[in-house]
Protein backbone atom coordinates (compact mmCIF):
# COMPACT_ATOMS: atom_id res chain seq x y z
CA UNK A 1 0.00 0.00 0.00
CA UNK A 2 2.72 2.39 1.03
CA UNK A 3 4.81 1.62 -2.04
CA UNK A 4 1.92 2.22 -4.36
CA UNK A 5 1.11 5.51 -2.70
CA UNK A 6 4.60 6.84 -3.27
CA UNK A 7 4.60 5.73 -6.84
CA UNK A 8 1.25 7.39 -7.35
CA UNK A 9 2.60 10.64 -5.94
CA UNK A 10 5.63 10.61 -8.14
CA UNK A 11 3.75 10.13 -11.41
CA UNK A 12 2.17 13.28 -12.80
CA UNK A 13 -1.54 13.80 -12.28
CA UNK A 14 -3.07 13.47 -15.78
CA UNK A 15 -1.20 10.27 -16.50
CA UNK A 16 -2.22 8.82 -13.13
CA UNK A 17 -5.83 9.55 -13.97
CA UNK A 18 -5.50 7.82 -17.34
CA UNK A 19 -3.80 4.82 -15.77
CA UNK A 20 -6.56 4.60 -13.21
CA UNK A 21 -9.30 4.65 -15.82
CA UNK A 22 -7.58 2.05 -17.91
CA UNK A 23 -6.98 -0.14 -14.83
CA UNK A 24 -10.65 0.14 -13.89
CA UNK A 25 -11.74 -0.81 -17.41
CA UNK A 26 -9.36 -3.78 -17.39
CA UNK A 27 -10.78 -4.75 -14.03
CA UNK A 28 -14.35 -4.74 -15.26
CA UNK A 29 -13.25 -6.68 -18.32
CA UNK A 30 -11.64 -9.37 -16.15
CA UNK A 31 -14.71 -9.79 -13.97
CA UNK A 32 -17.18 -9.48 -16.86
CA UNK A 33 -17.87 -13.26 -17.11
CA UNK A 34 -19.12 -13.17 -13.55
CA UNK A 35 -21.17 -10.00 -14.08
CA UNK A 36 -22.89 -11.53 -17.11
CA UNK A 37 -23.44 -14.89 -15.40
CA UNK A 38 -24.65 -13.29 -12.20
CA UNK A 39 -27.20 -11.17 -14.08
CA UNK A 40 -28.53 -14.01 -16.24
CA UNK A 41 -28.33 -17.01 -13.94
CA UNK A 42 -28.70 -15.53 -10.46
CA UNK A 43 -30.09 -11.98 -10.26
CA UNK A 44 -32.62 -12.45 -13.07
CA UNK A 45 -34.00 -15.75 -11.76
CA UNK A 46 -33.98 -14.30 -8.25
CA UNK A 47 -36.24 -11.42 -9.24
CA UNK A 48 -38.32 -13.62 -11.56
CA UNK A 49 -38.91 -16.06 -8.74
CA UNK A 50 -40.27 -13.25 -6.56
CA UNK A 51 -42.61 -12.17 -9.36
CA UNK A 52 -43.72 -15.74 -10.00
CA UNK A 53 -44.57 -16.20 -6.34
CA UNK A 54 -47.47 -13.75 -6.81
CA UNK A 55 -48.84 -15.66 -9.77
CA UNK A 56 -50.60 -18.84 -10.62
CA UNK A 57 -48.91 -20.71 -13.43
CA UNK A 58 -48.87 -24.32 -14.62
CA UNK A 59 -46.44 -23.71 -17.54
CA UNK A 60 -49.29 -24.17 -20.05
CA UNK A 61 -51.76 -21.37 -19.47
CA UNK A 62 -50.53 -17.78 -19.24
CA UNK A 63 -49.42 -16.80 -15.71
CA UNK A 64 -52.15 -15.05 -13.74
CA UNK A 65 -51.54 -12.48 -10.99
CA UNK A 66 -53.16 -13.61 -7.74
CA UNK A 67 -51.53 -11.33 -5.18
CA UNK A 68 -50.63 -12.96 -1.89
CA UNK A 69 -52.81 -16.03 -2.42
CA UNK A 70 -49.86 -18.40 -2.76
CA UNK A 71 -48.40 -17.23 0.53
CA UNK A 72 -51.76 -17.45 2.28
CA UNK A 73 -52.29 -20.97 0.96
CA UNK A 74 -48.75 -21.86 1.97
CA UNK A 75 -49.18 -20.75 5.57
CA UNK A 76 -52.40 -22.77 5.75
CA UNK A 77 -50.75 -25.87 4.30
CA UNK A 78 -50.06 -28.41 7.07
CA UNK A 79 -47.50 -30.17 4.85
CA UNK A 80 -45.53 -26.92 4.50
CA UNK A 81 -45.23 -26.76 8.29
CA UNK A 82 -44.42 -30.45 8.40
CA UNK A 83 -41.61 -30.01 5.86
CA UNK A 84 -40.21 -27.09 7.87
CA UNK A 85 -40.32 -29.17 11.02
CA UNK A 86 -38.62 -32.16 9.39
CA UNK A 87 -35.85 -30.01 7.93
CA UNK A 88 -35.24 -28.15 11.20
CA UNK A 89 -35.17 -31.29 13.34
CA UNK A 90 -32.75 -32.88 10.90
CA UNK A 91 -30.48 -29.81 10.91
CA UNK A 92 -30.54 -29.59 14.71
CA UNK A 93 -29.41 -33.19 14.94
CA UNK A 94 -26.97 -33.37 12.11
CA UNK A 95 -25.06 -30.10 12.44
CA UNK A 96 -23.82 -30.57 16.04
CA UNK A 97 -23.19 -34.25 15.38
CA UNK A 98 -21.05 -33.44 12.35
CA UNK A 99 -19.14 -30.73 14.22
CA UNK A 100 -18.38 -32.95 17.22
CA UNK A 101 -17.47 -36.11 15.30
CA UNK A 102 -15.35 -34.18 12.81
CA UNK A 103 -13.51 -32.32 15.56
CA UNK A 104 -12.93 -35.54 17.50
CA UNK A 105 -11.44 -37.25 14.45
CA UNK A 106 -9.23 -34.23 13.73
CA UNK A 107 -7.99 -34.12 17.34
CA UNK A 108 -7.06 -37.79 17.11
CA UNK A 109 -5.16 -37.30 13.88
CA UNK A 110 -3.38 -34.30 15.35
CA UNK A 111 -1.72 -36.48 18.03
CA UNK A 112 1.42 -37.04 15.92
CA UNK A 113 0.08 -40.41 14.74
CA UNK A 114 1.76 -42.45 12.06
CA UNK A 115 0.22 -42.87 8.58
CA UNK A 116 -1.78 -39.63 8.83
CA UNK A 117 -2.13 -39.68 5.04
CA UNK A 118 -3.73 -43.11 5.06
CA UNK A 119 -6.26 -42.30 7.79
CA UNK A 120 -7.14 -39.07 6.07
CA UNK A 121 -7.78 -40.79 2.76
CA UNK A 122 -9.98 -43.47 4.33
CA UNK A 123 -12.03 -40.94 6.33
CA UNK A 124 -12.46 -38.71 3.32
CA UNK A 125 -13.50 -41.44 0.85
CA UNK A 126 -17.29 -41.20 1.40
CA UNK A 127 -17.24 -37.44 0.71
CA UNK A 128 -16.45 -37.90 -2.99
CA UNK A 129 -19.24 -40.38 -3.75
CA UNK A 130 -22.33 -39.35 -5.74
CA UNK A 131 -25.29 -38.82 -3.35
CA UNK A 132 -27.52 -40.98 -5.50
CA UNK A 133 -25.16 -43.97 -5.22
CA UNK A 134 -24.74 -43.36 -1.50
CA UNK A 135 -28.52 -43.23 -1.10
CA UNK A 136 -28.96 -46.58 -2.85
CA UNK A 137 -26.19 -48.11 -0.79
CA UNK A 138 -27.67 -46.94 2.51
CA UNK A 139 -31.17 -48.03 1.51
CA UNK A 140 -29.68 -51.48 1.26
CA UNK A 141 -27.76 -51.13 4.53
CA UNK A 142 -30.96 -49.98 6.30
CA UNK A 143 -33.07 -52.75 4.75
CA UNK A 144 -34.88 -54.18 7.81
CA UNK A 145 -34.77 -57.79 6.64
CA UNK A 146 -31.63 -58.28 4.60
CA UNK A 147 -29.55 -55.17 5.40
CA UNK A 148 -26.17 -55.38 7.07
CA UNK A 149 -27.07 -53.01 9.91
CA UNK A 150 -29.74 -55.27 11.31
CA UNK A 151 -27.50 -58.20 10.40
CA UNK A 152 -24.80 -56.83 12.71
CA UNK A 153 -27.35 -56.10 15.46
CA UNK A 154 -28.61 -59.68 15.05
CA UNK A 155 -25.13 -60.93 15.95
CA UNK A 156 -25.63 -59.26 19.33
CA UNK A 157 -29.12 -60.71 19.70
CA UNK A 158 -30.83 -57.37 18.98
CA UNK A 159 -33.82 -57.16 16.68
CA UNK A 160 -33.14 -53.92 14.80
CA UNK A 161 -35.78 -51.32 13.96
CA UNK A 162 -37.23 -50.77 10.49
CA UNK A 163 -34.97 -47.68 10.08
CA UNK A 164 -36.24 -45.79 6.99
CA UNK A 165 -39.66 -47.37 7.19
CA UNK A 166 -40.44 -46.19 10.70
CA UNK A 167 -41.51 -42.62 11.47
CA UNK A 168 -39.46 -42.58 14.65
CA UNK A 169 -36.17 -43.77 13.14
CA UNK A 170 -36.18 -42.29 9.64
CA UNK A 171 -34.54 -38.95 10.56
CA UNK A 172 -31.93 -40.44 12.91
CA UNK A 173 -31.09 -42.93 10.13
CA UNK A 174 -30.52 -40.11 7.67
CA UNK A 175 -28.38 -38.24 10.22
CA UNK A 176 -26.26 -41.33 10.77
CA UNK A 177 -25.75 -41.65 7.05
CA UNK A 178 -24.87 -37.94 6.75
CA UNK A 179 -22.23 -38.22 9.47
CA UNK A 180 -20.69 -41.15 7.62
CA UNK A 181 -20.68 -39.09 4.44
CA UNK A 182 -19.50 -35.73 5.78
CA UNK A 183 -17.13 -36.49 8.63
CA UNK A 184 -14.10 -36.49 6.35
CA UNK A 185 -14.74 -33.01 5.02
CA UNK A 186 -15.25 -31.48 8.46
CA UNK A 187 -12.18 -33.32 9.71
CA UNK A 188 -9.88 -31.92 7.01
CA UNK A 189 -11.00 -28.38 7.77
CA UNK A 190 -10.47 -28.84 11.51
CA UNK A 191 -7.13 -30.54 11.01
CA UNK A 192 -5.77 -27.64 8.98
CA UNK A 193 -7.01 -25.32 11.71
CA UNK A 194 -5.42 -27.34 14.50
CA UNK A 195 -2.11 -27.36 12.67
CA UNK A 196 -2.12 -23.60 12.34
CA UNK A 197 -2.43 -22.97 16.09
CA UNK A 198 0.88 -21.53 17.25
CA UNK A 199 2.79 -24.05 19.38
CA UNK A 200 4.07 -21.18 21.55
CA UNK A 201 0.62 -20.94 23.13
CA UNK A 202 0.85 -24.51 24.37
CA UNK A 203 4.45 -24.06 25.50
CA UNK A 204 3.46 -20.98 27.48
CA UNK A 205 0.59 -22.92 29.04
CA UNK A 206 2.97 -25.75 29.93
CA UNK A 207 5.20 -23.30 31.76
CA UNK A 208 2.16 -22.06 33.68
CA UNK A 209 1.44 -25.67 34.61
CA UNK A 210 -1.80 -26.08 32.66
CA UNK A 211 -3.11 -29.61 32.23
CA UNK A 212 -4.42 -31.18 29.03
CA UNK A 213 -8.07 -30.39 29.74
CA UNK A 214 -7.31 -26.75 30.50
CA UNK A 215 -5.20 -26.44 27.35
CA UNK A 216 -8.03 -27.93 25.30
CA UNK A 217 -10.72 -25.59 26.58
CA UNK A 218 -8.58 -22.45 26.95
CA UNK A 219 -6.45 -22.68 23.82
CA UNK A 220 -7.65 -25.26 21.30
CA UNK A 221 -11.37 -24.50 21.40
CA UNK A 222 -11.05 -20.67 21.35
CA UNK A 223 -8.51 -20.85 18.51
CA UNK A 224 -10.80 -23.18 16.57
CA UNK A 225 -13.98 -21.12 16.87
CA UNK A 226 -13.69 -19.52 13.39
CA UNK A 227 -13.50 -22.99 11.87
CA UNK A 228 -16.30 -24.38 14.01
CA UNK A 229 -18.28 -21.39 12.84
CA UNK A 230 -17.45 -22.10 9.19
CA UNK A 231 -18.52 -25.73 9.58
CA UNK A 232 -21.68 -24.63 11.37
CA UNK A 233 -22.73 -22.44 8.46
CA UNK A 234 -21.82 -25.06 5.86
CA UNK A 235 -23.56 -27.84 7.78
CA UNK A 236 -26.70 -25.76 8.10
CA UNK A 237 -26.79 -25.02 4.39
CA UNK A 238 -26.23 -28.69 3.56
CA UNK A 239 -29.07 -29.76 5.84
CA UNK A 240 -31.48 -27.26 4.36
CA UNK A 241 -30.60 -28.28 0.82
CA UNK A 242 -31.16 -32.01 1.32
CA UNK A 243 -33.02 -33.45 -1.66
CA UNK A 244 -31.58 -36.64 -3.16
CA UNK A 245 -31.97 -38.76 -0.03
CA UNK A 246 -35.64 -37.83 0.36
CA UNK A 247 -36.31 -38.35 -3.34
CA UNK A 248 -34.53 -41.69 -3.61
CA UNK A 249 -34.68 -43.32 -0.21
CA UNK A 250 -37.92 -42.36 1.48
CA UNK A 251 -40.14 -40.46 -0.96
CA UNK A 252 -40.85 -38.17 1.99
CA UNK A 253 -42.34 -40.99 4.04
CA UNK A 254 -43.32 -42.81 6.07
CA UNK A 255 -46.35 -40.57 6.63
CA UNK A 256 -44.42 -37.39 5.75
CA UNK A 257 -41.85 -38.05 8.48
CA UNK A 258 -39.03 -37.25 6.02
CA UNK A 259 -40.79 -34.65 3.88
CA UNK A 260 -37.78 -32.37 3.47
CA UNK A 261 -38.42 -28.81 2.37
CA UNK A 262 -36.66 -28.89 -0.99
CA UNK A 263 -38.25 -32.23 -1.81
CA UNK A 264 -41.71 -30.79 -1.10
CA UNK A 265 -40.84 -27.78 -3.26
CA UNK A 266 -39.75 -30.12 -6.04
CA UNK A 267 -43.04 -32.03 -5.82
CA UNK A 268 -45.03 -28.84 -6.29
CA UNK A 269 -42.84 -27.45 -9.06
CA UNK A 270 -41.99 -30.47 -11.18
CA UNK A 271 -44.61 -33.09 -10.40
CA UNK A 272 -47.72 -30.94 -10.06
CA UNK A 273 -46.43 -27.88 -11.97
CA UNK A 274 -47.60 -25.37 -9.35
CA UNK A 275 -44.88 -22.95 -10.44
CA UNK A 276 -46.28 -19.98 -8.52
CA UNK A 277 -46.83 -21.88 -5.31
CA UNK A 278 -43.37 -23.46 -5.53
CA UNK A 279 -41.81 -20.03 -6.14
CA UNK A 280 -43.48 -18.76 -2.96
CA UNK A 281 -41.96 -21.78 -1.19
CA UNK A 282 -38.57 -20.92 -2.68
CA UNK A 283 -38.81 -17.36 -1.37
CA UNK A 284 -39.84 -18.40 2.10
CA UNK A 285 -36.93 -20.85 2.01
CA UNK A 286 -34.59 -18.04 1.03
CA UNK A 287 -35.85 -15.79 3.83
CA UNK A 288 -35.39 -18.58 6.37
CA UNK A 289 -31.83 -19.20 5.20
CA UNK A 290 -31.10 -15.48 5.42
CA UNK A 291 -32.59 -15.23 8.89
CA UNK A 292 -30.53 -18.19 10.08
CA UNK A 293 -27.38 -16.82 8.49
CA UNK A 294 -27.82 -13.40 10.06
CA UNK A 295 -28.55 -15.06 13.40
CA UNK A 296 -25.45 -17.22 13.22
CA UNK A 297 -23.24 -14.32 12.11
CA UNK A 298 -24.62 -12.04 14.85
CA UNK A 299 -24.11 -14.62 17.56
CA UNK A 300 -20.66 -15.42 16.19
CA UNK A 301 -19.37 -12.05 17.42
CA UNK A 302 -19.94 -13.32 20.94
CA UNK A 303 -18.12 -16.59 20.60
CA UNK A 304 -15.84 -16.58 17.57
CA UNK A 305 -12.30 -15.49 18.21
CA UNK A 306 -10.38 -14.13 15.23
CA UNK A 307 -6.69 -13.98 15.79
CA UNK A 308 -5.15 -10.71 14.65
CA UNK A 309 -8.06 -9.73 12.42
CA UNK A 310 -6.71 -6.20 12.28
CA UNK A 311 -3.03 -6.98 11.94
CA UNK A 312 -3.41 -9.79 9.42
CA UNK A 313 -6.36 -8.63 7.38
CA UNK A 314 -4.64 -8.04 4.03
Amino acid sequence: MLGQLTRGQVTNAPRRFGVRISEALTGYLFISPWIIGFTIFTLGPFVASLALSFMEWNLIKAPEFIGLDNYIALFNDPLFWQSLKVTTVYALGRVPLGIIVGLAAALLLNQKVKLVGLWRVVYYMPVVLPPIAVSLLWMWIFNPDYGILNGILWLFGIRGPAWLQDEATVLPSLMMMAVWGMMGRYMIVYLSGLQSIAQELYEAANIDGANAVQKFFKITIPMMTPIIFFNLVMGMMDSFKLFTQAFVMTGGGPRYASLFYVYYLYQHAFQRFHMGYASAMAWVFFLIIMAFTVLVFRSSKAWVYYEGTVAKGR
Binding site: R20, E23, T26, G27, Y28, F30, I31, P33, W34, G37, F38, F41, T42, G44, P45, F46, S49, L52, L59, A105, V113, W119, R120, V121, Y123, M125, V128, L129, P130, P131, A133, L136, L137, W140, I141, Y146, I148, G151, L155, I188, Q199, P226, I227, F230, M237, F240, K241, F243, T244, V248, A269, F270, S279, A282, W283, F286, I289, M290, Y306, K312
Partner: protein
Protein backbone atom coordinates in the same frame (compact mmCIF):
# COMPACT_ATOMS: atom_id res chain seq x y z
CA UNK B 1 12.18 -22.22 18.26
CA UNK B 2 15.27 -21.68 16.14
CA UNK B 3 16.47 -18.82 18.25
CA UNK B 4 16.85 -21.08 21.31
CA UNK B 5 20.48 -21.98 21.97
CA UNK B 6 21.15 -25.61 20.97
CA UNK B 7 22.02 -26.79 24.47
CA UNK B 8 18.96 -25.30 26.13
CA UNK B 9 16.84 -26.86 23.43
CA UNK B 10 18.19 -30.37 23.91
CA UNK B 11 17.61 -30.27 27.63
CA UNK B 12 14.11 -28.88 27.34
CA UNK B 13 13.02 -31.18 24.60
CA UNK B 14 14.73 -34.48 25.15
CA UNK B 15 14.03 -34.77 28.85
CA UNK B 16 10.21 -34.71 28.74
CA UNK B 17 10.22 -36.85 25.61
CA UNK B 18 12.27 -39.60 27.16
CA UNK B 19 10.15 -39.62 30.23
CA UNK B 20 7.04 -39.82 28.07
CA UNK B 21 8.40 -42.62 25.91
CA UNK B 22 8.97 -44.91 28.87
CA UNK B 23 5.82 -44.26 30.86
CA UNK B 24 3.11 -46.92 30.62
CA UNK B 25 0.31 -44.33 30.56
CA UNK B 26 1.88 -42.89 27.41
CA UNK B 27 1.75 -46.29 25.72
CA UNK B 28 -1.81 -46.95 26.79
CA UNK B 29 -2.74 -43.56 25.33
CA UNK B 30 -1.06 -44.35 22.03
CA UNK B 31 -2.76 -47.74 21.80
CA UNK B 32 -6.16 -46.16 22.54
CA UNK B 33 -5.62 -43.54 19.84
CA UNK B 34 -4.75 -46.16 17.23
CA UNK B 35 -7.65 -48.39 18.31
CA UNK B 36 -10.10 -45.50 17.95
CA UNK B 37 -8.65 -44.48 14.59
CA UNK B 38 -8.91 -48.06 13.36
CA UNK B 39 -12.49 -48.52 14.53
CA UNK B 40 -13.60 -45.30 12.82
CA UNK B 41 -11.87 -46.47 9.64
CA UNK B 42 -13.60 -49.83 10.02
CA UNK B 43 -17.04 -48.22 10.33
CA UNK B 44 -16.31 -46.06 7.29
CA UNK B 45 -15.18 -49.00 5.19
CA UNK B 46 -18.03 -51.42 6.07
CA UNK B 47 -20.52 -49.87 3.59
CA UNK B 48 -17.90 -50.12 0.82
CA UNK B 49 -17.26 -53.77 1.61
CA UNK B 50 -21.00 -54.40 1.77
CA UNK B 51 -21.45 -52.86 -1.70
CA UNK B 52 -18.79 -55.08 -3.24
CA UNK B 53 -19.96 -58.15 -1.35
CA UNK B 54 -23.58 -57.72 -2.48
CA UNK B 55 -22.54 -56.87 -6.04
CA UNK B 56 -20.88 -60.27 -6.36
CA UNK B 57 -23.74 -62.36 -4.97
CA UNK B 58 -26.52 -64.34 -6.62
CA UNK B 59 -29.99 -62.76 -6.15
CA UNK B 60 -30.83 -65.59 -3.77
CA UNK B 61 -27.80 -65.10 -1.59
CA UNK B 62 -28.35 -61.32 -1.54
CA UNK B 63 -31.70 -61.92 0.15
CA UNK B 64 -30.49 -64.16 2.95
CA UNK B 65 -31.27 -63.62 6.59
CA UNK B 66 -29.01 -63.22 8.47
CA UNK B 67 -26.85 -61.56 5.80
CA UNK B 68 -23.68 -63.30 4.63
CA UNK B 69 -20.45 -61.48 3.84
CA UNK B 70 -18.67 -63.87 1.48
CA UNK B 71 -20.30 -64.27 -1.95
CA UNK B 72 -20.64 -67.92 -2.87
CA UNK B 73 -20.51 -68.39 -5.80
CA UNK B 74 -18.79 -65.15 -6.92
CA UNK B 75 -20.93 -63.69 -9.73
CA UNK B 76 -18.73 -61.29 -11.72
CA UNK B 77 -21.45 -61.38 -14.35
CA UNK B 78 -23.51 -58.95 -12.22
CA UNK B 79 -21.27 -56.06 -13.28
CA UNK B 80 -21.72 -56.90 -16.94
CA UNK B 81 -25.49 -57.34 -16.51
CA UNK B 82 -25.78 -54.02 -14.68
CA UNK B 83 -23.59 -52.20 -17.22
CA UNK B 84 -25.49 -53.52 -20.24
CA UNK B 85 -29.07 -53.61 -18.91
CA UNK B 86 -29.06 -49.84 -19.26
CA UNK B 87 -26.76 -48.00 -21.69
CA UNK B 88 -24.25 -47.09 -18.98
CA UNK B 89 -21.59 -46.49 -21.63
CA UNK B 90 -23.75 -43.63 -22.93
CA UNK B 91 -24.34 -42.33 -19.38
CA UNK B 92 -20.63 -42.42 -18.64
CA UNK B 93 -19.84 -40.60 -21.86
CA UNK B 94 -22.45 -37.91 -21.13
CA UNK B 95 -21.23 -37.41 -17.57
CA UNK B 96 -17.60 -37.21 -18.68
CA UNK B 97 -18.45 -34.76 -21.44
CA UNK B 98 -20.39 -32.49 -19.08
CA UNK B 99 -17.66 -32.70 -16.43
CA UNK B 100 -14.86 -31.90 -18.90
CA UNK B 101 -16.60 -28.85 -20.33
CA UNK B 102 -17.71 -27.65 -16.88
CA UNK B 103 -14.13 -27.84 -15.66
CA UNK B 104 -12.82 -25.90 -18.67
CA UNK B 105 -15.54 -23.29 -18.22
CA UNK B 106 -14.96 -22.83 -14.51
CA UNK B 107 -11.18 -22.66 -14.81
CA UNK B 108 -11.31 -20.06 -17.58
CA UNK B 109 -13.99 -17.84 -16.13
CA UNK B 110 -13.16 -18.09 -12.43
CA UNK B 111 -9.45 -17.46 -12.82
CA UNK B 112 -10.10 -14.33 -14.90
CA UNK B 113 -12.65 -13.02 -12.42
CA UNK B 114 -10.48 -13.91 -9.44
CA UNK B 115 -7.55 -12.04 -10.99
CA UNK B 116 -9.75 -8.99 -11.44
CA UNK B 117 -10.74 -9.08 -7.79
CA UNK B 118 -7.28 -9.88 -6.47
CA UNK B 119 -5.08 -7.57 -8.53
CA UNK B 120 -6.99 -4.71 -10.12
CA UNK B 121 -8.48 -1.61 -8.56
CA UNK B 122 -11.80 -0.36 -9.85
CA UNK B 123 -14.75 1.45 -8.31
CA UNK B 124 -17.18 -0.89 -6.56
CA UNK B 125 -14.73 -3.79 -6.41
CA UNK B 126 -15.17 -4.59 -2.74
CA UNK B 127 -18.95 -4.35 -2.91
CA UNK B 128 -19.05 -6.61 -5.96
CA UNK B 129 -16.84 -9.12 -4.19
CA UNK B 130 -19.24 -9.09 -1.26
CA UNK B 131 -22.01 -9.83 -3.76
CA UNK B 132 -19.97 -12.82 -5.00
CA UNK B 133 -19.65 -14.08 -1.44
CA UNK B 134 -23.30 -13.52 -0.66
CA UNK B 135 -24.36 -15.61 -3.67
CA UNK B 136 -22.71 -18.52 -1.83
CA UNK B 137 -25.57 -18.15 0.61
CA UNK B 138 -28.29 -18.37 -2.05
CA UNK B 139 -29.21 -22.02 -2.41
CA UNK B 140 -29.48 -23.22 -6.00
CA UNK B 141 -32.89 -24.59 -5.05
CA UNK B 142 -34.32 -21.06 -4.74
CA UNK B 143 -33.49 -20.45 -8.38
CA UNK B 144 -34.46 -23.74 -10.01
CA UNK B 145 -37.91 -22.67 -11.18
CA UNK B 146 -36.91 -19.47 -13.03
CA UNK B 147 -33.82 -21.22 -14.40
CA UNK B 148 -36.00 -24.04 -15.65
CA UNK B 149 -38.26 -21.47 -17.32
CA UNK B 150 -35.24 -19.68 -18.78
CA UNK B 151 -33.83 -22.84 -20.32
CA UNK B 152 -37.28 -23.84 -21.54
CA UNK B 153 -37.62 -20.47 -23.30
CA UNK B 154 -34.18 -20.89 -24.86
CA UNK B 155 -35.21 -24.35 -26.07
CA UNK B 156 -32.40 -25.95 -24.04
CA UNK B 157 -34.52 -28.43 -22.11
CA UNK B 158 -33.55 -32.01 -22.76
CA UNK B 159 -30.08 -31.02 -23.98
CA UNK B 160 -26.81 -30.98 -22.07
CA UNK B 161 -26.51 -27.18 -22.40
CA UNK B 162 -28.14 -26.17 -19.05
CA UNK B 163 -25.60 -28.37 -17.28
CA UNK B 164 -22.62 -26.94 -19.16
CA UNK B 165 -23.09 -23.31 -20.21
CA UNK B 166 -23.55 -21.64 -16.76
CA UNK B 167 -20.09 -22.92 -15.83
CA UNK B 168 -18.52 -20.55 -18.34
CA UNK B 169 -19.72 -17.58 -16.26
CA UNK B 170 -17.91 -18.26 -13.01
CA UNK B 171 -18.94 -19.94 -9.78
CA UNK B 172 -18.81 -18.02 -6.51
CA UNK B 173 -16.99 -20.72 -4.57
CA UNK B 174 -14.23 -21.16 -7.15
CA UNK B 175 -13.81 -17.41 -7.61
CA UNK B 176 -13.41 -17.09 -3.86
CA UNK B 177 -10.91 -19.96 -3.67
CA UNK B 178 -8.77 -18.65 -6.53
CA UNK B 179 -8.85 -15.06 -5.31
CA UNK B 180 -7.67 -16.19 -1.88
CA UNK B 181 -4.82 -18.03 -3.53
CA UNK B 182 -3.87 -15.21 -5.91
CA UNK B 183 -3.66 -12.82 -2.94
CA UNK B 184 -0.91 -14.97 -1.44
CA UNK B 185 1.32 -14.45 -4.51
CA UNK B 186 3.67 -11.52 -3.84
CA UNK B 187 2.88 -8.40 -5.88
CA UNK B 188 6.61 -7.79 -6.37
CA UNK B 189 6.44 -10.28 -9.22
CA UNK B 190 3.76 -8.20 -10.92
CA UNK B 191 5.79 -5.04 -10.44
CA UNK B 192 8.86 -6.65 -11.96
CA UNK B 193 6.77 -7.79 -14.92
CA UNK B 194 5.26 -4.31 -15.31
CA UNK B 195 8.72 -2.81 -15.50
CA UNK B 196 9.48 -5.30 -18.27
CA UNK B 197 6.43 -3.90 -20.08
CA UNK B 198 3.94 -6.64 -19.33
CA UNK B 199 0.23 -5.80 -19.22
CA UNK B 200 -2.32 -7.38 -16.94
CA UNK B 201 -3.10 -10.11 -19.41
CA UNK B 202 0.58 -11.15 -19.48
CA UNK B 203 0.84 -11.03 -15.70
CA UNK B 204 -2.28 -13.16 -15.40
CA UNK B 205 -1.29 -15.66 -18.05
CA UNK B 206 2.46 -15.93 -17.51
CA UNK B 207 2.89 -15.29 -13.79
CA UNK B 208 -0.27 -15.85 -11.77
CA UNK B 209 -1.67 -18.91 -13.54
CA UNK B 210 1.58 -20.91 -13.62
CA UNK B 211 2.10 -20.16 -9.91
CA UNK B 212 -1.45 -21.23 -8.99
CA UNK B 213 -1.37 -24.88 -9.97
CA UNK B 214 -2.45 -26.16 -6.53
CA UNK B 215 -5.49 -23.89 -6.47
CA UNK B 216 -6.39 -24.63 -10.09
CA UNK B 217 -6.04 -28.35 -9.32
CA UNK B 218 -8.44 -27.94 -6.41
CA UNK B 219 -10.95 -26.14 -8.64
CA UNK B 220 -10.67 -28.95 -11.20
CA UNK B 221 -11.34 -31.75 -8.74
CA UNK B 222 -14.16 -29.91 -6.95
CA UNK B 223 -15.79 -29.06 -10.25
CA UNK B 224 -15.49 -32.65 -11.43
CA UNK B 225 -17.28 -33.86 -8.30
CA UNK B 226 -19.94 -31.16 -8.46
CA UNK B 227 -20.74 -32.10 -11.98
CA UNK B 228 -20.48 -35.89 -11.55
CA UNK B 229 -22.51 -35.92 -8.34
CA UNK B 230 -25.23 -33.52 -9.45
CA UNK B 231 -28.65 -35.15 -9.40
CA UNK B 232 -31.32 -32.44 -9.14
CA UNK B 233 -30.01 -30.55 -12.21
CA UNK B 234 -30.10 -33.48 -14.68
CA UNK B 235 -33.35 -34.68 -13.11
CA UNK B 236 -35.08 -31.41 -13.98
CA UNK B 237 -33.50 -30.61 -17.32
CA UNK B 238 -33.11 -33.97 -19.04
CA UNK B 239 -35.80 -36.39 -20.12
CA UNK B 240 -34.45 -38.63 -22.92
CA UNK B 241 -32.31 -41.55 -21.96
CA UNK B 242 -29.64 -40.72 -24.54
CA UNK B 243 -28.75 -37.58 -22.53
CA UNK B 244 -28.82 -39.25 -19.10
CA UNK B 245 -25.88 -38.77 -16.78
CA UNK B 246 -24.60 -41.62 -14.62
CA UNK B 247 -26.60 -40.29 -11.65
CA UNK B 248 -29.82 -40.21 -13.67
CA UNK B 249 -29.07 -43.64 -15.15
CA UNK B 250 -28.66 -45.06 -11.68
CA UNK B 251 -32.01 -43.58 -10.69
CA UNK B 252 -33.68 -45.09 -13.77
CA UNK B 253 -32.03 -48.42 -12.96
CA UNK B 254 -33.58 -48.26 -9.50
CA UNK B 255 -37.06 -47.90 -10.99
CA UNK B 256 -36.64 -50.72 -13.50
CA UNK B 257 -34.91 -53.35 -11.38
CA UNK B 258 -36.70 -52.93 -8.11
CA UNK B 259 -35.40 -55.26 -5.39
CA UNK B 260 -32.54 -56.78 -7.41
CA UNK B 261 -30.02 -55.62 -4.86
CA UNK B 262 -27.05 -57.47 -6.31
CA UNK B 263 -27.44 -55.64 -9.64
CA UNK B 264 -28.19 -52.40 -7.81
CA UNK B 265 -24.96 -52.54 -5.88
CA UNK B 266 -23.00 -53.44 -9.00
CA UNK B 267 -24.44 -50.37 -10.73
CA UNK B 268 -23.77 -48.18 -7.67
CA UNK B 269 -20.18 -49.43 -7.59
CA UNK B 270 -19.82 -48.48 -11.25
CA UNK B 271 -21.00 -44.93 -10.44
CA UNK B 272 -18.69 -44.65 -7.42
CA UNK B 273 -15.60 -45.99 -9.17
CA UNK B 274 -14.51 -42.92 -11.14
CA UNK B 275 -14.82 -40.33 -8.34
CA UNK B 276 -12.88 -42.67 -6.05
CA UNK B 277 -10.10 -43.20 -8.61
CA UNK B 278 -9.85 -39.45 -9.21
CA UNK B 279 -9.77 -38.85 -5.47
CA UNK B 280 -6.91 -41.35 -4.98
CA UNK B 281 -4.90 -39.77 -7.79
CA UNK B 282 -5.57 -36.14 -6.86
CA UNK B 283 -6.02 -36.32 -3.09
CA UNK B 284 -3.53 -33.57 -2.33
CA UNK B 285 -5.66 -31.12 -4.35
CA UNK B 286 -8.83 -32.10 -2.48
CA UNK B 287 -7.22 -31.76 0.88
CA UNK B 288 -5.30 -28.60 0.00
CA UNK B 289 -8.37 -26.94 -1.48
CA UNK B 290 -10.56 -27.73 1.49
CA UNK B 291 -7.95 -26.49 3.92
CA UNK B 292 -7.51 -23.30 1.87
CA UNK B 293 -11.17 -22.35 1.83
CA UNK B 294 -12.07 -23.79 5.20
CA UNK B 295 -9.53 -22.22 7.48
CA UNK B 296 -9.20 -18.97 5.55
CA UNK B 297 -12.90 -19.20 4.97
CA UNK B 298 -14.74 -16.46 6.74
CA UNK B 299 -11.81 -14.39 7.88
CA UNK B 300 -12.58 -11.66 5.35
Amino acid sequence: MNSTPPIARTRQQILPQRRAAFSPSHWIGRVLIYLTLASIAFVILIPFAWTISTALKTPRQALMYPPEWIPDPVVWQNFITAWTSKPFDVFYRNSLFIAALSIIGQILSCSLVAYGFARLRFPGRDILFLVVLSTLMIPFQVLIIPRFVLFKTLGWLNTLLPLIVPNFFGGAFNIFLLRQYFMTIPTELDDAAKIDGCGHWDIFWRIILPLSKPALGAVMVFEFLDSWDDFLGPLIYISSEKYYTVALGLNAFRNDYFMEWNLFMAAAAVAMALPLVIFFIAQKYFIGGIALTGSGGLKQ
